[in-house]
Chain length 341, copies 2
Amino acid sequence: MAGMTIKDIAKKCHVGVSTVSRAMNNHPDINPETKEKILKAIEEANYVPNNSARNLKRNDAKAIAVLVKGIGNTFFSELVGILERECEKKGYSCILQYVDEQEDEWDVAIRVGKEKRLRGLVFLGGSFSQSQEKISQMEIPCVLSTICTVGMPGASLASVSVDDFKESYKMTEYLIGLGHKKIAFFCGQIKENGVIKKRLCGYQQALEEAGIPYDSTLVYEGKVDYDSGIELARKLCNENKDVTAVVATADILAIGAMKGFYEQGVSVPNDISIVGFDDLEISKYLTPGLTTVRQEISQKGEKAVELLLDNIQDADMTKREVIIPVSLSRRESVRDMRGEE
Amino acid sequence: MAGMTIKDIAKKCHVGVSTVSRAMNNHPDINPETKEKILKAIEEANYVPNNSARNLKRNDAKAIAVLVKGIGNTFFSELVGILERECEKKGYSCILQYVDEQEDEWDVAIRVGKEKRLRGLVFLGGSFSQSQEKISQMEIPCVLSTICTVGMPGASLASVSVDDFKESYKMTEYLIGLGHKKIAFFCGQIKENGVIKKRLCGYQQALEEAGIPYDSTLVYEGKVDYDSGIELARKLCNENKDVTAVVATADILAIGAMKGFYEQGVSVPNDISIVGFDDLEISKYLTPGLTTVRQEISQKGEKAVELLLDNIQDADMTKREVIIPVSLSRRESVRDMRGEE
DNA sequence: TTGTACGCGTTATCAG
DNA sequence: CTGATAACGCGTACAA
């Protein structure tokens, strides 16, 4: 039977609605027998309380949402699971909200925040090149878990991120340490204040500190997708520079590039080495396996909800940044050039 | 300001709440000027109506949900987008519901169906080895878009799927036509009535019709993930059968197998050919590119909501099956054996 | 321990 | 065209 309500159950059990409510919500002040009886009736009748009505009442519900931009990103799906688990552990319910590539994540955030009377928000992905105005409209604490908020003003923004500059620096340094001298940089669109910009700086500094002059013609800017990787690889081959290694700012870019090099008859890692960022699940299963930077994703998830909950409780504890460590997944896409020549 | 309601807006504009409601919901009977004024006030005040209250009232809301099992499956994410777009086009709102790997998708379906007072449901993924009992508890129309419902009884079940038997048959036939005689079969767990079982039958029949005796020791059963692919490949190599081709029932299995073969020093496609199912985005970017079966995913999405909406409108039009066509994405993982020996 | 009655924020009805 | 007011289904004071 459709459209059953708490009243129907109450009637069935010859009790009042509040008793049914108490039974469902594990209230202490109820006769165990009555409770038993009611729960059985609910089970039998296959009754499920109306969610909207519930939320309407307890709009103090301890709920947060995770906003995911870029549903196809397999990197996120793992994190989402951890986020959900972590929330549950802390007694919060967690709702998932996907946002289309075209939509503005802040518009969505503000809307669902109010619609659902959320207590907090975790952002996954998106670019966050945001106007002050929108950010200040956000009335609940937020944690960005993709990009760092240092230098970003606004309401209650916190972030859990990696140090993009440093990681990129280290990655480049690693390559240099292996004897690579001419290293190209494959990346998506470089935006002021964006992750890619930071990674570019890290790359640049590592080069300079090693006494290798930075050559801007070695920076190949495209989009962050497979095809762009192919294209960039092709371009590099055509320009015929004697590059021995490539730093790609994302695994999918690196994977595309590997395909591109293959098509050009350039062998990875024999003719050219390549490294990525993200450590996608697939990266391990490629041939050759892709050397890449891995974020401690479970730690990231834990820190993110920890930070958010802190900010929810203490309104003034706002704007904390947490940097989580990363590690290098060394695989076969990099060649050791030392002792050659 | 937090927690604003329709009343606040009404007060601000010196009108009644119903007038505000009318302005928001595009009701015709309202003075354009009043409407203008109210909308401006809403905009200014940054007011967003409470979702729960809305849904509580219009529990006739035209909403359906998409249930996704296996969030990591990139194949689904594409389909989800199409489903959402298609729903919107038909004036339905569409909510996404992810279900954990451990959860029973029917339990979830029944629960959210009632919680949210949904009009219909689309299932993505999951195994559906379901008891009659649960299925009959489902009170709203459902469309399964992963598996075919032929032979499955129950409430209002419809499905959009591919003909797994036939596709597998054709794939095997294709390999045979290319001169392959000893063809192994890599698959996940074989369950009665499941897709894999059907694909196995297709493989089997293609073999037999070509006069090649079916050899059950050539069927390698594992799980549907990368590691299982590696393991199966390793097992095959160790057994040292002179297999020249492998049919894998999923791209990820095939990708894992490619890695496994590589590790064993077996070259794809020179020493062994391999084909998959799904045509994941990544399959195209592997080296060598994976030959695989592609479903017309946009068509699948369109058909799915079309079917669902039909079933929502005509309660008796239930239980229709739609088979959508597939195509072969021919890439480099298969070798033509003809004219050799 | 239990039941009655009110209110959550919204939309729909109906009388002005 | 507009404004009271009655639902929607549930949780919870408060009274019993």
